[in-house]
Symmetry: C2
């Protein structure tokens, strides 16, 4: 416990420092918390919202008249708010709807099971109830393993088992079972509604918008990297290009989860109810494919300090850098238009310049003869050309997917011209779409 005596004055000073450090340690933690909150102010707002919803529903429970109306089960309203309230509207709505529907259906089934069992002898009743609970729990648990069920209804199936067990095993008389099921359903409705209303009304976080921004930012990052890589003048070293594209590699499960939750959300802001969230997953997959290849550009085998070895090498490298810049520009333009939810040019027009650059590179590779050189010196430049041609191809496919999205999602046309899908857009189309519409 005590500081080792051998360290003498130094240890003594440390001892004092330890006491002096206490307030500064607390200050450091406070700083850390403040920074963490500033990093994303929605964290603090969400915490405030949870506190608000819970206080509202607690007061509801606390006031005697209401308490008498709902009985001891009123506590389920408090519980519901705590477990249903999530960061985004989609997640909160998904959990709330799952909880309400599952409670309603399982409550009904539970009453039926209880009634059926109570017709039997006391021992028979016990065996029947145990058998019902076992079968329902086992079957529903097995169903939860199916990926489609797991993605959207996992919580509901869990609540289904819960409510069925609670209602069917409660050893009450029939009338009490009805009251219990009814109270449980009402309190869960109150709790879920409180959570959903506070979540939507106070600074809502729409998961659909998050997904939209994530996919756009991913494409933007890839574009930035490629433009930076192409700019040989200002930048001979891939290391200074940053690691933003790395985050694209790991975003798969995140994107899938967001798309599942976004489908619970009603229309909001610029997004309609039937917004094509699945198309974002398609674009995301292509962006990841592109990111693998972009990652290869920054890896060591395309060694940036290997200088072009002769005039031919310089020409190949210049064509490579040109292609990288053009692909980067296409991706940045796609990201910009999608961020503003405007239609882009048709995919063909969009990638015309990058396709021309790719043809240039192929021509350079195709028409020139390589002077007698050691093979090892060709490897970096040849690999660079191979990877960039792959990136150009993926860029075209991303452009196709983004154009498909802008059509499916009825984006505004970029140049106020009449687009084929919208023969006569009303003037109001230029105004922000009202929230909650569709």
């Amino acid at each position: 416990m005590a500081a080792p005596v051998e360290e003498g004055g130094h240890a003594g000073k440390r001892g004092f420092d330890w006491i002096l450090d206490l307030p500064s340690g607390a200050a450091a933690i406070a700083m850390r918390v403040k920074e963490f909150g500033k990093e994303d102010p929605r964290r603090a707002i969400h915490s405030f919202k949870v506190g608000l919803a819970l206080t509202m529903v607690s007061l509801f429970y606390y006031f005697k008249p209401l308490y008498d109306g709902f009985g001891v089960n009123a506590i389920w309203a408090v519980l519901t708010v705590v477990v249903v309230f999530e960061f985004s509207v989609g997640a909160t709505l998904g959990k709330g709807l799952n909880r309400m529907v599952a409670t309603f259906v399982a409550g009904g089934l539970g009453i039926g099971a209880h009634h059926l069992a109570s017709l039997s002898s006391p021992t028979g009743e016990l065996i029947l109830i145990a058998a019902f609970v076992f079968i329902i729990a086992a079957v529903v648990t097995f169903t939860r393993f199916f990926p489609k069920v797991k993605a959207r209804y996992d919580y509901g199936f869990n609540i289904f088992i819960l409510t069925f067990s609670l209602v069917s095993v409660s050893g009450y008389r029939d009338s009490q079972v009805w009251t219990m099921a009814h109270e449980r359903l009402s309190t869960i409705l109150v709790g879920s509604s409180t959570a959903v209303i506070v979540c939507v009304v106070v600074y809502p976080v729409w998961i659909g918008e998050e997904l939209h921004n994530l996919v756009v930012t991913n494409i933007e990052n890839l574009g930035e990297f490629l433009v930076g890589f192409g700019d040989a003048e200002s930048n001979n070293n891939a290391k200074t290009l940053g690691e933003d594209h790395k985050s694209v590699l790991a975003s798969k499960s995140n994107e899938e989860n967001m798309a599942n939750l976004a489908r619970w959300e009603p229309g909001h802001g610029r997004f309609r109810l039937q917004h094509p969230w699945k198309q974002y997953l398609k674009i995301g997959t292509l962006a990841r494919e592109c990111a693998y290849k972009v990652d290869a550009l920054s890896s060591s085998y395309l060694n940036p300090h290997v200088q072009p070895i002769d005039e031919m090498g310089s020409r190949v490298e210049a064509a490579c850098r040109e292609l990288s810049t053009e692909c980067g520009r296409v991706l940045k333009e796609l990201a910009l238009a999608t961020r503003k939810m405007k239609r882009t040019k048709p995919a063909d027009a969009m990638v015309a310049s990058s396709r021309a650059a790719a043809d240039d590179l192929k021509l350079v590779l195709d028409t020139n003869k390589w002077e007698r050189q050691r093979f090892v010196e060709l490897v970096p430049i040849a690999a660079l050309a191979a990877v960039l041609l792959e990136i150009a191809e993926t860029t075209e496919r991303i452009a196709d997917a983004v154009v498909e999205l802008s059509s499916k999602a009825h984006f505004k046309s970029a140049d106020s011209a009449v687009s084929p899908e919208q023969p006569s857009p009303p003037p109001a189309a230029a105004l922000p779409v009202s929230s909650g519409g569709a």
Copy 2:
């Protein structure tokens, strides 16, 4: 509703088919369910276990004497089993411990808050309780955003808010609050224990073992692919090599989650309590790096139908295939040893052959002159060489990480020789270690 008359006999037949299809449709669903269960029999076992635990705890609630002991709050035991019971032991233990500790701490705090507030006037009491609930809910919700808290204690923090609200807002007299908190804690202990015991005793699924097998299988798949790719005789087409390595690319968040859950598990089978789970994440990250490069091998720019264009090309290609085979062998050997939890050779000895093959390839590239050829024909073979040299480097780093794991996890020495860390291994070391030890 009616079938269109125009289709005549055919439509009539379809109408009959529809009726005849009913049983066959049900049979198809039954087949699908059966297949899904067979795919992983542990799914059916898990469903059985959930049914068992829930029936046990329901009967516990159903029997009057026990019911009288716990009061109406006995229903919390049923609820606890449903929400705590997870597929793996680690997840169930983690949730159970989180729930128990959070209930205990929050229950105490809730009693304190209730007592403090009840000293005030009725209006003051109301305001104080509301303020307490708001502050605790907001602060704890904010804390849940910190990644380290989220990874291991998210559920506990949620239950903390829940229990604190339930205990502090209940408008009872002090003595009743004590009873309520006590009952809630006891029933949650009963529910959590039932869930944990059933989960551990009946065919337990250890998440640590899952993580071990996942990482080993990932390395094995990479090895298989590389050996297959190197075997030019039997296989000129990368397409037949399979897509097993693709799953490695997306396993990041899965592995992190498993490592977090594995830390809740006690020693089991061949795994001790302090098994170095973090080292698996390190190996997993390297395996993913390797998989990106392996994926490039199977991509189109290393076009397998481009035949080597001259003798020099053939020699480079042969050296590439040799290097691929050697890297694949190293990875397969590493996977085999790790699966058996045996020590492998030191990393240097392990990768000696692949390092020699890499040197061979470099030598071929370095000493040979390329005859005048069109540059475009060099691209695939040069890119192939570049990617394979990268794979060889990553393989060495994987070997280092696996050797580090075998040392940290005290794997048995491969050749029954006395290893440095285990001066005199007891004969019992050869027997399976008893489950639940350490």
